[in-house]
């Protein structure tokens, strides 16, 4: 059972991308090769003027039943006791099977080193008692991180545009209740 998870309240997202910048900064993720562990995906629905938009900040959902681990032919992906899913870059051969099976686009191919990489839930930060960089910087509380015991009953398992959670059981919940502290 995972120890941690994400709580996403999409209505609070102002699309500032502090989460993306914080991740890049902390993890030293290379720029210019389209590798971004976390991305804010904005989608729209309806027809003008009855239009709606939705902003979802997505990284890796460190699933209970990770398809990336199943997909990897060289056992380069592994899961810590606390549920964090990590790619061992030394073992990875860059076959991209994990990316092909992940419903959330988490593993990404680094064209420079020809290996996969993805969100690590900032294990160095969480092991030091801090929050991941993204959640630390989110100004509005749209993106929260915390103990899965606390989070799992705080929202829905799915929102429009998010792949069926019954497949990999991602450790993420979406707040669907209204405004109010």
């Amino acid at each position: 059972m995972a120890k941690y998870g994400w709580l996403l309240d999409a209505k609070r997202c102002i699309e500032c991308r502090a989460c993306e910048s914080a991740c890049k900064q902390w993890n030293g993720v290379e720029t210019g090769i389209n590798v971004r562990y976390r991305r804010v995906n904005v989608s729209e629905s309806g027809k003008y003027p009855n239009v709606k938009t939705q902003a979802l900040s997505m990284a890796c959902n460190h699933c209970e039943n990770p398809w990336c681990i199943k997909a990897c032919p060289v056992k380069a992906i592994w899961r810590r006791d606390d549920g964090v899913v990590l790619i061992d870059r030394d073992r990875c051969v860059g076959c991209t099977m994990c990316a092909q099976l992940c419903p959330y686009g988490a593993p990404q191919f680094n064209i420079e080193v020809r290996k996969m990489e993805k969100c690590t839930m900032c294990v160095d930060r969480i092991d030091a008692g801090l929050q991941p960089a993204c959640a630390t910087l989110c100004p509005t509380g749209a993106l929260k991180w915390g103990k899965w015991d606390d989070i799992q009953n705080k929202g829905a398992a799915q929102v429009p545009g998010f792949a069926n959670p019954n497949q990999t059981k991602p450790n993420i919940r979406f707040v669907v209740s209204g405004w109010g502290k």
């Binding site: 900064q25 729209e44 938009t53």
Partner: protein, 748 residues
């Protein structure tokens, strides 16, 4: 691996660092290396302030081994509320951008043009400053002060002192593209800077084009989020459904440039139905003195009339006005480009908005716009009083003398500058200094490039290479805010005074310096009497900062304060009962007699935007600044560039279908002054009679290794103005009309 004593001496040459041993090659190593203690630098946590936009969110910075490791928000900071936006979090990438300006340079190729190689040669700071001083002196002697053009904000204080000391009359800033209209209107209607919005206590918020969430200005965005949590209702008028609209309860895709009609009609409803806050209005405004005039003036601005202009239904306008009155505290925020500067009726719109807030009775009240309670940080003129400044004599390149309220204010005018240089006073400007501004920030940048060619000597100070620098005779490298020292008051959310330090996280890289240094050094050369302390020595910037710290009550010295990082005085908020409006009545002014006295509208009148759709140009042109960018200064930041590398022509799927445009297809957008070509991006979130383009792209320099050559300049289709146009349009508060264009769209 230990070193023997012989090795150690060999490495350091056995001499003190910096002493050259005999023999060229042998000395080469010692010339560039010095002895160092083997102890590794540790990890430090330092407090500083962001410098990307004015609220200057507090930063908690992690610095490791002398390199900036991580930036996050500062708990307790009023501006960021403990957070940073995507721009602020990516701040270190500015400092570490290999393209950043590093050393003073001068050109050796006299030919100037966007495609000319200037033939740069590196020079020392002294040579750069000596050259610039000589050019200024020569221009003043031969042509007078009017021949000098300084395109810069009036800060920092030492830099402004220099310009005052040599009698610069032509100092131009971009404020007419920003809050100039608001500042002028507030001077006469509420008497202060109402930039603070008490959103968390607001219950009804009406947004006219105010798109702050989509710009990620945290100081206000945090407040809107609080307002939502506290049950506020938000109504948003904007031709685009942006992130701001998503936070609103009701969104109306208003016809561009007609927010004024809705605001006037709201006032009409409040007055005709007597729904305004009588207690506040009677006690604190001049309403009773002009009541008949006021009621008569607004009578015709009915919601039915406003519907014709704005396409917002009359019953909606009426209902919103009633809700605005009934569900207080109510607020209509203003401030900055999105509604102050966009259109020719900006002055009127800002006045109407001020009246709405006055009628709501929330000026300097909970839930409304309030005046910042600031720490008074004395400036250099206060600490070292100068001799009397020479009078400013000569002709104004921007024509401000024709707009008395703009002249009185002193800010602006970007929208009339190129006309001044090319047409009104051709050849008058002999020397120009651009500080942290570039042609891309003007309407009609190609016209600005033409204007730059007519100026014999141009100095540019900036952080990143810009297209304007391509025309410079001397380029000066500026520090980034992460390498600077200052005291930053929280002015955008300040119910109580708070100051956060700005301290250099690393020493300034290469030979970058601050504009304050330039002001001081030019001052020493050209106006030494203005740059001495009472003791007769030259002003020292570090001592000055210590004095500011001491006299503000922040500590015994800057070094002492920076260790603490944040100062605040959580005094209780006492709402004002007198208002420092010009004229000295002590009251808020709805009707402004001073405007009438100088031929301007004492009450807002309906005026349309300047450029209206026509058969040749049928579509509205809208611009925006993406949340991850700031003006035209961030496009080359490695992290931000990746998120938003270039711009596109954003049009509705309906319009695309009508014109036969597919997603990604190149389209030409053409106005009466220029044309740009961009790939189309289709969306449902915008009116079908408009096209929207992100500002800040179209940098030409191929040496800007990330942003160079990408996108198009949004300003190429936006007309600049002549001063007479502003006067004729009744644009008495100087709105730059920075979005007032109509265009033709053509698939290619």
């Amino acid at each position: 691996m230990g070193l023997t004593r012989r090795d150690w001496l060999q490495w350091t040459g056995g001499a003190a660092a910096g002493v050259m041993a005999a023999g060229g090659l042998q000395a080469a190593f010692e010339e560039h290396f010095q002895a160092a203690t083997p102890a590794a630098a540790g990890e430090q946590t330092l407090i500083t302030s962001c410098g990307i936009c004015s609220p200057s969110c507090g930063i908690k910075a992690t610095v490791k081994d002398g390199a900036i490791r991580f930036l996050e928000g500062l708990e307790g900071d009023l501006s960021g509320n403990g957070h940073l936006c995507g721009k602020g979090a990516a701040g270190a990438a500015f400092t570490y951008d290999p393209d950043r300006l590093k050393y003073p340079m001068k050109r050796t190729n006299p030919k100037k043009g966007l495609d000319e190689d200037p033939g740069w040669v590196r020079i020392s700071w002294d040579e750069a400053l000596d050259t610039i001083a000589a050019k200024i002196k020569d221009a003043i002697t031969r042509y007078g002060q009017e021949s000098l053009l300084f395109v810069t904000l009036p800060s920092p204080d030492v830099w402004m002192r220099f310009m005052n000391a040599i009698g610069v009359i032509n100092r131009i800033d971009h404020i007419d593209e920003c809050f100039l209209t608001d500042r002028i209107i507030q001077r006469y209607t509420t008497g202060g800077k109402t930039w603070c919005n008490d959103f968390e206590n607001s219950k009804y918020i009406v947004l006219f084009g105010w798109d702050i969430l989509a710009k990620a200005k945290l100081v206000y965005a945090n407040g809107i989020v609080d307002a939502r949590d506290n049950g506020a209702k938000i109504v948003c008028f904007n031709p685009q459904y942006s992130a701001t609209a998503r936070f609103a309860d009701e969104w109306y895709p208003i016809k561009p440039g007609t927010d004024l009609a809705v605001a006037l009609a709201m006032i009409q409803v409040l007055l005709s139905e007597n729904l305004y806050n009588k207690e506040f209005v009677d006690a604190y405004t001049n309403f009773k003195d002009y009541e008949t005039k006021i009621r008569e003036h607004f009578a015709a601005y009915t919601p039915e009339w406003a519907e014709q202009e704005s396409e917002v239904p009359a019953d909606v306008i009426r209902r919103i006005a009633r809700e605005f009155a009934a569900n207080g505290p109510a607020i209509v925020p203003a401030h900055k480009k999105t509604l102050c500067a966009n259109y020719a009726n900006g002055s009127q719109l800002v006045h109407a908005i001020s009246i709405l807030n006055i009628l709501a009775g929330t000026i300097d009240r909970p839930g409304g716009r309030y005046f910042p309670r600031s720490v008074n940080i004395p400036g250099v003129d206060n600490i070292y009083p100068p001799p009397a400044y020479p009078p400013k004599q000569g002709r104004r390149i921007d024509g401000k003398e024709k707009l008395p309220f703009v002249l009185e204010d002193g800010g602006g005018m970007f929208s009339t500058l190129t006309d001044g240089i090319l047409n009104r006073y051709p050849g008058m400007i002999k020397f120009a200094f651009f500080n942290f501004y570039t042609a891309l920030g003007f309407p009609n940048p190609p016209q600005m490039f033409e204007a730059l060619k007519t100026i014999p000597f141009l100095a540019v100070m900036d952080i990143i290479p810009t297209d304007t620098a391509n025309f410079a005779d001397i380029v000066l490298p500026h520090v980034t805010y992460l390498e600077a020292n200052d005291l930053v008051a929280r002015d955008y959310k300040a119910k109580y005074p708070q100051v956060v330090v700005r301290q250099a996280l690393i020493p300034p890289m290469f030979e970058t310096k601050s504009i304050a240094y330039v002001g001081l050094e030019l001052g020493k050369r050209l106006a030494p009497d203005y740059f001495k302390t009472p003791a007769g020595e030259f002003i020292n910037l570090n001592t000055l900062l210590d004095e500011k710290t001491k006299r503000s009550g922040l500590g015994g010295s800057f070094a002492e304060f920076k260790a603490v990082g944040i100062y605040e005085n959580k005094q209780p908020f006492t709402p004002r009962t007198t208002f420092a409006t010009a004229g000295g009545s002590g009251k808020c002014q709805i009707y402004v007699p001073q405007f009438a006295e100088k031929g301007a509208d004492p009450l807002p009148v309906w005026r349309p935007k300047r450029d209206l759709p026509s058969p040749e140009y049928p579509y509205y042109y809208l611009t925006f600044i993406p949340a991850v960018h700031r003006r035209n200064t961030t496009e080359n930041n490695a992290i931000l560039h990746e998120m938003f590398p270039t711009n596109s022509a954003i049009i509705s799927t309906a319009l695309a279908a009508k014109l036969g445009i597919k997603e990604g297809q190149t389209v030409r957008i053409r106005s009466r002054v220029g044309a740009i070509e961009l790939p189309a991006h289709l969306t449902e979130t915008i009116r079908p009679d408009a096209v929207m383009v992100a500002h800040g792209f179209g940098h030409r320099s191929k040496f800007l290794t990330k942003a160079g050559g990408l996108g198009a300049r949004d300003g190429d289709v936006i007309p600049a103005q002549t001063i007479d146009e502003l006067v004729k349009a009744g644009n008495f508060a100087g709105a730059a009309c920075i979005m007032d264009a109509v265009v033709n769209i053509e698939p290619l």
